[in-house]
């Protein structure tokens, strides 16, 4: 018989207790929680979060800038989820378990398009808040207008380089439809830049296929999928 590793022992190695400093419901069922930063990180990195050491942690993209004093994480409350309904109720002073930031979904100085659906905006907002949005275009796709998280800040700072697509509601300056439809309408997509995709698998797969069919090299397409 092989020796059995105790799962919680593995988790305790990397998870540390952190104290919640804020919990804001920024849209219906969507929360932004924060705690004091104890490690440096690169925008685009993720953290694992757990309510205790008996449950496997979940992974979330960091949503704050890398020179801000707090780490913030954006999440949707999943009714049948084990973690998010509890996480939605945390208040400042409460403790959760979190790992130090890790991962390598990071952008550099090269021009890029950032493409996100829903809470997939988080790593790009982190990049934006970290000051690397100068030659980037951000395309955010949602179902309802209320899901354009951080839109005031993004619209003010990025102007026409901030594109909103909404599939179920309409508004001025918002493309009526999904991201894939918006991209399909563009006759010539730039092929000499990087593309960063973040969100649900179906968006990532559809957009990646479209980009490749338009001559973008697959090496220039990086994706993070929320599952």
């Amino acid at each position: 018989m092989m020796p059995k590793t105790v799962e919680s022992q593995n988790l305790s190695v990397e998870l540390k207790e952190v104290v919640i400093t804020g919990n804001e419901e920024i849209s219906s069922g969507v929360h932004l929680i924060s705690w004091n930063r104890t490690h440096n990180f690169n925008p685009g990195q993720v953290v694992k979060i757990a309510s205790d050491l008996t449950m496997p942690p979940r992974i979330y993209s960091i949503c704050s800038g890398n020179d801000e004093p707090e780490i913030r994480v954006l999440f949707n409350v999943k009714e049948v989820g084990l973690l998010t309904p509890w996480l939605a109720g945390v208040i400042p002073g409460m403790k959760i378990w979190a790992t130090k930031p890790y991962g390598s979904f990071s952008d550099g100085k090269k021009p890029a398009w950032w493409i996100a659906t829903g809470t997939g905006i988080a790593p790009f907002f982190s990049m934006f808040r970290s000051g690397i949005s100068e030659n980037k275009t951000l395309i955010h796709g949602v179902r309802q207008l209320s899901q354009f998280y951080f839109e005031d800040e993004l619209e003010w700072a990025m102007g026409e380089r901030y594109i909103r697509c909404c599939s179920h509601e309409q508004s001025c300056n918002v493309f009526p439809g999904r991201i894939i439809s918006y991209l399909e309408e563009i006759k010539e997509l730039p092929t000499d830049i990087n593309y960063y995709l973040c969100g649900k698998a179906i968006m990532v797969v559809e957009v990646r296929d479209l980009l490749i069919s338009r001559g973008v090299r697959y090496e220039n397409i990086l994706a993070e999928i929320y599952f």
């Binding site: 799962e7 390598s104 797969v205 069919s213 697959y218 990086l222 994706a223 599952f227």
Partner: protein, 340 residues
């Protein structure tokens, strides 16, 4: 719609028997009918009283689902298409090889992982399979009595449907179930670490990890999961396990032309796998529509294998089977889905 008996564990069957006012041992009897005998209806469970069968039939169905399509390759490989309760399709392959018959089962309808080289990912995620739907892929093919090996390498990521996959493994390996040795079962993952750890703790089946390149940046362009579960973390976790003499850990490696077939890759593989008693399975790429990736040539493939073996890593090339019947996983069900 009635609930299915097929796919329930012995504990669940016993609990429902007690709940229905039937003797406790009815659970064991049902398990034998469901998983060990050639019957497909509750009426045929003849060692249960008529009244017990009536009570069961009032609330449950036996639960086997027939395949709606089967394709047979010139090499004997068969691909079965099964409908799911959600009205979608899943694929199951039966691969004969000398005295072995290996069944490759799906664990999800579609997939969330979005790997660049995979056809299933193009369907997006359609839903989870139940343990019954997973085991049905073995029990409900004509060859089920001859099945020698099972691999969870069909559609979906098994550790993204962990609970049902573990339940299906319990049914397959328990004395009251199919009584298969876990050493004849391999579960393949792209490296969902928490699921992998739970699986290693709760099952004795073999583990296969889809690696495809030892370099993080390259893997990220092929497999988005690399951001959440970097290969380094997967390898670190595997190194913390003693797999013993009988349990096997293998790494799946689809070889792409000019991408991951160089001596540099051999060197890095040796470096990161140092200390793990494992095997590498090299896989020929079955091109899918619109892919920018290409299959490496046979000469390079052979050389790559020889170099790894020379370095002391047991490396084999998986034989390509069923190429004339949409061999790449996901092609047949995607075609069926689009055709509807």
């Amino acid at each position: 719609m009635k609930d299915s008996l097929f796919g329930k564990t012995l504990n669940e069957l016993t609990a429902l028997a007690v709940e229905l006012g039937l003797p406790k041992f009815t659970g064991k009897q049902m398990a034998e009918w469901l998983y060990q005998k050639d019957v497909s209806s509750i009426d045929e469970m003849t060692n249960l009283s008529k009244k017990a069968r009536e009570i069961l039939s009032g609330k449950f169905e036996f639960g086997l689902v027939n395949s709606t399509k089967v394709q047979e390759s010139v090499d004997g490989t068969k691909k079965y298409l099964f409908p799911t309760v959600q009205g979608k399709f899943i694929e199951t392959a039966m691969i004969p090889d000398d005295d072995r018959k290996t069944v490759c089962v799906s664990s999800q309808v579609g997939c969330k992982m979005g790997c660049l080289f995979c056809m299933t990912g193009k369907q997006g995620f359609q839903g989870q399979l139940t343990a019954g739907e997973i085991v049905n892929q073995i029990r409900n093919i004509p060859e089920w009595h001859e099945v020698t090996n099972i691999v969870y390498m069909g559609m979906g990521e098994p550790f993204d449907n962990l609970e049902e996959v573990l339940k299906s493994l319990e049914i397959l390996t328990s004395e009251w179930g199919f009584a298969m040795s876990p050493r004849r079962i391999t579960v393949s993952t792209i490296g969902i670490v928490p699921g992998m750890v739970t699986f290693l703790n709760h099952s004795e089946a073999h583990l296969a990890v889809s690696m495809h390149t030892p370099f993080d940046a390259e893997r990220q362009t092929l497999m988005p999961v690399q951001v959440a579960y970097p290969l380094e973390e997967v390898i670190r976790e595997i190194k913390s396990w003693d797999f013993g003499r009988q349990r096997r850990i293998s790494f799946e490696y689809i070889v792409f032309k000019g991408l991951n077939d160089s001596p540099r890759h051999v060197q890095e593989l040796c470096k990161i796998l140092n200390g793990i008693k494992c095997r590498i399975n090299l896989i020929r790429f079955h091109p899918i529509p619109g892919t920018p990736l290409e299959r490496t040539d046979e000469n390079t493939l052979q050389k790559f294998k020889d170099q790894l073996n020379d370095k002391g890593i047991l490396t084999t090339i998986r034989s390509s089977r069923g190429q004339d019947i949409y061999a790449a996983c996901g092609l047949l069900s995607t075609k069926e889905m689009l055709g509807r």
